[in-house]
Amino acid sequence: MTTRTRGRRAPLASVGLHATLVVASVIAVFPVLWILLTSLKPAQHAITTDFVKEPTLANYTYLLESSHFLSWFANSVLVAGVTTVLGVFIAATTGYAVSRFKFPGMKPLMWTLLITQMFPMAILIVPLYNLMGDLGLLNQPVGLIITYLTIAVPFCAWMMKGFFDTIPVEIDESGRVDGLNPFGTFWRLILPLAKPGLAVTGFYAFITAWGEVAYASAFMVGEENLTLAGGLQTFVTQYTSNWGAMSAASVLIAIPAAVFFLFAQRHLVAGMTAGATKG
């Protein structure tokens, strides 16, 4: 893409541009930075306005040694990881089918996939809760995984359609000429080409499950069964506020996610808007 040259900006406009962007950047970064700084302060200074005061890792050692943080983390990894793998696995062929074929039932399917993304939580949470209760799966990672598949499957199918759409249909045609049936074409030609798309879809499914709050809050009780979203709530309740532990936990949850995300983000947007605009 060529860069436009539209004459020179007046110095005043340039100052305005930078000033606005500096303010916006500060607003964007500050809360995250502040949590990072707070996590490095001793607990008794957590609520001071000093940027750095007697930096220490005490909050982190407390978190790792005296709280259930590690089991929450393991629960979250397990639930989000299995959800992602299953979601991508189940949805892959559907994404391909709706991208390549016109078949009776395609429009209703597309609509179902779209609509199920709009509503699940409010309407499904009670029946799923009762169902999991009947099956004895409340408080079990398996129950949460099944529940998260209600979100991940439609979403993965929808998003993968967008990625398959970006692979030229000529490749399918050449596969057909060489005598492959649609399954062979999908498996041997398209799936390898779509790997980056699958990875991005999987990543998205993972962070959606990772950050889910409502089901996790309702289905998981008892300190060590919680996921991170539930666990973090226990540090700051109506009655207690352990801001030091909360901030340290936040940093441990956010930094790996943020680093990974900043590398992947350009694919995320491309895939999502492509899938959505092309219905």
């Binding site: 089918a97 009670v126 499957v153 967008g162 030229p168 808007t273």
Partner: protein, 352 residues
Amino acid sequence: MAAHTSQSVAKAAGDDVENNDAAARGRSRLADGRNTGTGNKNGARGGLRRALATHWYAWTMIAPVVLVLGVIIGWPLVRGVYLSLTDANERNVARTIGVRHIDATYRFVGLDNYTAVLGDPVFLQRLVWTVVWTVACVSITFTIGLALANMLNRDFRGRAAYRMALILPWAVPGFVSVFAWRFLFNRDNGILNKVLDGGGISAIPWLDDPTWAKFSVIAVNVWLGVPFMMVALLGGLQSIPGELYEAAEMDGATPWQRFRHITLPGLRSVSMTVILLSTIWTFNMFPVIFLLTRGGPGDSTEILVTQAFREAFITSPRDFATSATWGVLILALLMIFALVYRRSLRKQGEVW
């Protein structure tokens, strides 16, 4: 690294559009070819058999998803609708206490729950606030996102660094950000009030006063939503050919005219998508409200979704039937919205 990213967003966005069109064209070609071919061959056979012969590949491929959706979404959905027609609550649903199993004793009550919910002024109150919340969040997020995208689309020193900083809120898991804000908003100990205090302004009850709480939840949601909006719109902006702007400039168009007549139409397809997505997300935005204010103070920031959650999981006894009723009503509202939105897209000649 960041400059490289921006180029790629543009390229990716552009390529996607082209490839999609190509794929769509190729697809219809492919489909047409197959249809006519099979049509000739199977002209005499029954319609169903012909459909099976033509489409069994596609149907087999979608089978896993249809199956999964049917079992884990379809069945609970039907049950949810059924629950909304009963008086089920914590005390009369089937449950197991220790080894003793107690059967369900709830009854079918018809539309009683609906008349109760709709007749209660609380519903209208929640609905109005949910709509205000959604419209405010989406419009503010879109405006700020568009403004920042336009700024970042220019060529100047340091824009890579700015973009990195501005995307950061999107990279942090939502519930973590919300807790960070809860910390900043804290009435006695939060940094915002400490700063105000330093400036001689008395503390603002960010989360403890109904009006300020509404302001706060919207502010946090905007903060969370701007990066996505900005990145998507930036991708759209970079796919608008620069020649259009040059030509307009030659013709003496003012910056505002260029924005109005080139930028906005050029962004239309991207805007439509992000507005639809963020409207749906915001309407159902559970974590921000639940984690920041728990719907409070009182019930002033409770939106429809958090109200449904409250009925089933917070109030005592847990009222499953009423919660399901709220759920069905939310679903109905969103479906109406989707239909209206689709109709308006159709009128403007969009794909679907």
